[in-house]
């Protein structure tokens, strides 16, 4: 039975039923009949009949109850429901109110009935298109979601997994606003004496930003052929190595007018034997240096041009010395600009205070602590922008 051209007539008045069947069959419908509401409901459910003509009073349950059951029990299927009545007992307003689409009075006037059936066919056809479209969208959405989950896993796998490296203990926090983030970070030793770290934030968030962050991450890979190792090996000083890396990235990603995607970053190198840090602040929020002895946290740098925005951008470095136990915090603007329910930003001051307050807690706990802190501030784990943070603690142990 094709659901598109089938009609169900419900009622036990033989005369009315015969008249309806004749006109429906004349209009090209396959017809099926039921005496009572229970049987009718079963037929609608089983065969997905989308056009129902029901006597105002059917045997076991009233027409009104049957109509309500069709509406309540069949959310997925839209049934076009017409009441008919030969005894002028039917109240058309009540019929529409309980969920009927139309009503006809018996005896039938053929012209009126044909017009009503045509109207029903139009609505049923539109409904079918809508259902098909929804099914397609649901399918497509499920596919996209699966893809995004895989992409999120790929991104997660790119994040550092080692937490104790030559001279440094590390930890991090990563909260993408959607499945994948425009934020990325990494750190790794280069040779025996250098430790490279960076955090970057591609303008915007979501897929487009994430693709750019993947591309940058690929440039900054830890291999000896990567940009980081090359710049260290080819430079006469750490500052020169940092600046040459930024210059190189800016040349590669400098935007044209059609694509204004740029990124901000902190890129730095720690000289492992001495704890000397040299970093470039390319439009990214200021790193915070926790000086363990003084129990004081200090913001470093006063900004700098982002990468990929201006061809002529010139980069400079900021330095600090890490003593054993000192920590360096780098984080994305999503942390500072995270708003609480009253629209208040988390902000630098709160962050610096918290870093100071937690100076005695082990670094291993800080990732989770800041995660909890910012999630609580945000009021949920759905963030408006990517939030990330990297924490480095100088141990001096080779």
């Amino acid at each position: 039975m094709s659901e598109d051209s089938s009609a169900l007539v419900v009622g036990n008045n033989q005369e009315s039923r015969a008249a309806l069947l004749r006109l429906l069959e004349g209009a090209g419908y396959n017809t099926i009949t039921a005496d009572c509401g229970t049987q009718a409901l079963d037929i609608v459910k089983r065969f997905g009949v989308t056009l129902v003509l029901c006597d105002w009073k059917v045997q076991d349950m009233s027409g009104a109850d049957f109509c309500a059951s069709v509406r309540n029990d069949l959310e997925e299927l839209y049934v076009y429901f017409i009441f008919y009545d030969g005894n002028t007992e039917m109240n058309p307003v009540k019929a529409m109110d309980i969920g009927a689409d139309d009503f006809v009075a018996m005896p039938l006037e053929q012209q009126v009935f044909d017009a009503k059936i045509k109207s029903a066919a139009r609505i049923i056809s539109l409904q079918k298109k809508l259902t098909d479209r929804n099914d397609f969208l649901e399918f497509a959405y499920a596919n996209v979601t699966t893809d995004l989950k895989i992409a999120a896993k790929v991104q997660e796998d790119l994040l550092p997994t080692q937490f104790r490296l030559a001279g440094l203990d590390t930890n991090w926090m990563f909260k993408p606003a959607s499945f994948v983030a425009g934020d990325m970070f990494d750190y790794f030793p280069v040779g025996n004496d250098h430790f490279v770290f960076y955090i970057l934030d591609v303008e915007g968030h979501g897929i487009a930003s994430a693709l750019t962050s993947f591309a940058i991450n690929n440039q900054l890979n830890p291999s000896s052929h990567g940009l980081c190792a090359k710049s260290i090996n080819e430079s006469s000083s750490t500052a020169e190595a940092v600046i040459s890396t930024l210059d190189s990235l800016n040349r590669q990603f400098e935007s044209n007018l059609n694509s204004s995607r740029y990124f901000t970053m902190i890129y730095g190198i720690i000289e492992i034997p001495t704890g000397e840090v040299t970093l470039c602040q390319a439009g990214h929020p200021s790193p915070v240096h926790l000086q363990r002895k003084a129990e004081k946290a200090v913001s470093l740098g006063d900004g700098g041009m982002p990468v990929g925005l201006i061809k002529e951008a010139e980069y400079s470095t900021v330095s600090c010395s890490m003593n054993v136990g000192d920590r360096l915090f780098i984080y994305s603007d999503g942390m500072l600009e995270c708003e609480n329910k009253s629209g208040e930003f988390y902000g630098t001051e709160r962050l610096v205070n918290r870093i100071q307050e937690w100076h005695d807690l082990p670094i291993d706990e800080l990732g989770d602590l800041f995660d909890g802190e910012i999630t609580q501030w945000n009021g949920s784990s759905n963030f408006h922008d990517d939030v990330s943070m990297v924490i480095l603690e100088y141990t001096g142990k080779r």
Binding site: D201, E203, G204, H205, S255, L257, S260, R261, Y262, T264, G283, H284, P285, D302, G303, G304, M305, P306, L309, I310, D333, E337, D385
Partner: protein
């Protein structure tokens, strides 16, 4: 509409009426600026008085707009609040643009 444009003495005064210049309206800003330039006005005074918050996409759109006009003196910004100023300052973009405290002042400098 998140933007209003008024042409005065061949200068387009482009006012952002939204309170957030972020990813949701950044592409529109670029379009509005393109339209102004295509309509024959290449000098723009961007009024950010209503903007309380600007994110990286907003900044990107402002820079793109600046690039479209081509020259420093032809794209001037005025009326920025402290939060927006912090973004310009953090990214050193305050060195790239002429920023004035009011529309009148910006306008006078452009006419001078």
């Amino acid at each position: 509409m998140s933007f209003e444009t008024e042409i005065k003495d061949e200068i387009a005064v482009l006012r952002v009426t939204a309170s957030r210049l972020d990813a949701s309206i950044a592409p529109e800003l670029k379009k509005v600026v393109s339209t102004i330039i295509n309509d024959g006005t290449s000098r723009i005074l961007l009024d950010l008085q209503s903007v309380k918050f600007m994110d990286s996409s907003g900044l990107g759109a402002v820079i793109s707009s600046f690039k479209l006009t081509g020259q420093k003196g032809d794209f001037v910004i005025c009326n920025i609040n402290e939060t927006v100023h912090e973004i310009f300052s953090l990214t050193h973009m305050d060195r790239l643009f002429d920023i004035y405290p009011s529309v009148d002042e910006g306008f006078q400098k452009m006419c001078a």
